[in-house]
């Protein structure tokens, strides 16, 4: 590409900054994802031709939307001319596009929200929601998404095609949900964003670069969402993601080994992300309804504010887990609360709760439950219990760094035993 050409560079910059907005508006105007994508590409092609001659327009986005719209109208008229049946519907389509209401700046901002809510519609399969959001809202290519999710590109492309077909054939509307539907629909959007984040965050090393980009993309999505719709839980989710992301550099050793929160070098934590995340938690907590994302973010903020693991305000963390368990009761939350209680009141107190959860059978196949039980048992000197639980955890561990961590702990247990008098 001719990087020396300044107009070319401008078009590239406009593409990066505006292409998603242009697409979102064109989908509304044309009522069809594929037609809108084609129109957008035609518009950028036209920009490459015309801007060097006529200069860059004052409002490039409006110019592109307008150009895309005319290209689409042209295409439809051409189609119509060749269409011997001459269906009256085509005329109506063109009229709808021509009414001029498209330029209203408020609806243009709403278009991005419409696009997010449509891509995250609960009638679409969960993996299709994720793929479509990354493709249409974030502008990632199908190949990029496929690589990040370790999925063959044709499978991913198929998923996107099916999702678009369902949007069209089941008449999934291009709209921001009514206030009555909003909480439920927002949950679906937040779930997609957090799924993207976790895919990038909890993955092993190796393909770490593309993975990291997924977390960054999720944070970008989170920012976009609160800019468009500053709902408390959206703010809470962004805070949670920033606070978790702040620990990324400290979570693994240079050789890719997993490092637990208590053993991390807190000097490696990203202070800017902690500051922003903490500020967002405070903002979310000041809004009326406090939901699960906000409470988890508040817990992460307590960790982030502690100079060492020992100096952590474990009482505060237990209190937050109590609130979280009331808002969103689940055995996993109970487990995390038990670990916090162990830190506050000693390992025996935590172990009793974990044993009770496991006795219920809820987390029988959940690796972290056995790993936590092993850890607390080992702190109490119950080596045999600790070994049995680490072995159970090892059998349930699927990621290499996790397996290596547990194997290391088992080896340490064996050593400490031979060292015993």
């Amino acid at each position: 590409m001719a990087v020396t050409d300044p107009v070319h560079e401008t078009v590239n910059a406009v593409y990066l900054a505006e292409s998603r907005r242009v697409l979102a508006t064109l989908i509304r105007l044309l009522g069809d994802f594929d037609r809108a994508e084609e129109a957008m590409h035609d518009a950028f092609r036209a920009a490459l031709e015309q801007w060097p001659r006529e200069g860059v327009p004052a409002n490039p986005r409006a110019w592109l939307v307008s150009a895309g719209r005319f290209k689409a109208i042209d295409a439809m008229r051409r189609l119509k001319r060749f269409d011997s049946l001459d269906e009256p519907g085509n005329e109506a389509d063109v009229a709808v596009i021509d009414n001029g209401a498209w330029a209203d700046p408020e609806s243009v901002e709403d278009d991005r929200l419409r696009l997010i809510f449509t891509c995250c519609h609960p009638a679409l399969a969960a993996d299709a929601q994720v793929a479509l959001t990354l493709r249409e809202v974030c502008g990632l290519t199908t190949e990029e998404i496929a690589r990040a999710f370790l999925t063959p590109a044709p499978t991913l492309a198929q998923r996107i095609v099916r999702a678009k077909a369902k949007i069209r054939d089941a008449s999934i509307p291009y709209q921001v949900p009514e206030p009555a539907e909003l909480p439920e629909r927002l949950d679906a959007v937040l779930r997609v964003i957090y799924l993207v984040f976790n895919e990038g965050y909890s993955a092993s090393s190796g393909a770490s670069l593309t993975r990291h980009e997924l977390s960054a993309e999720a944070i970008r999505l989170g920012r976009l969402l609160i800019e468009l719709l500053p709902e408390p839980e959206a703010v809470g989710l962004l805070a949670l993601m920033l606070l978790q992301e702040s620990r990324r550099a400290a979570r693994t050793s240079p050789s890719g080994e997993l490092i637990l929160l208590s053993d991390q070098d807190r000097g490696l934590w990203d202070r800017a992300q902690i500051a922003e995340g903490t500020q967002l938690v405070e903002r979310a907590l000041s809004l009326n309804l406090v939901g699960p994302y906000t409470i988890q973010a508040a817990i992460a903020a307590v960790h982030a504010g502690a100079p060492t693991a020992a100096a952590t305000d474990w009482g505060e963390i237990v209190g937050l887990y109590d609130i979280l368990a009331r808002a969103d009761a689940s055995p996993v939350i109970e487990l995390n609360r038990a670990v916090a209680i162990a830190m506050r009141d000693g390992p025996a107190a935590g172990l009793a709760i974990i044993d009770a959860i496991l006795a219920r059978g809820d987390l029988r196949d959940y690796r972290p439950a056995h790993a936590a039980r092993a850890e607390l048992s080992s702190r109490l000197g119950r080596t045999a219990d600790a070994r049995a639980s680490y072995q159970r955890a090892l059998a349930l561990a699927h990621q290499e760094p996790e397996r290596r961590y547990i194997e290391r702990r088992l080896a340490e247990l064996a050593e400490s035993k031979t060292g015993d008098p």
Partner: protein, 111 residues
Amino acid sequence: MKYACLVYLEEEKLHAVPDRECIACGEGLRKSGLMVGGEALQSVQHSATVRIRNGKLSVIDGPFAETKEQLAGFYLIEARDLNEAIQIAAKIPPAREGSIEVRPVRELQAD
């Protein structure tokens, strides 16, 4: 657009929702012009599955799929889009006991 809202219930729960509630729901939807048609269905024990294979009619008893929930009734509704159809389906009383499958109606093509 027309949507079929298919009501799925476990057999034992077929009468968990009082009939009068379903009658009232149907009347409400009909009055608001949203309902095109709909019926409650008999127990799945009375059902048959019909297939044509290689030009031959085959009839077997019972439901097509072996699941706990069975088709217990259906509403044919007219909705602006899927969101409105979902909102209407959510108001169908057995939604709370079983599930409602919302399926867009496919318009048959004459040619």
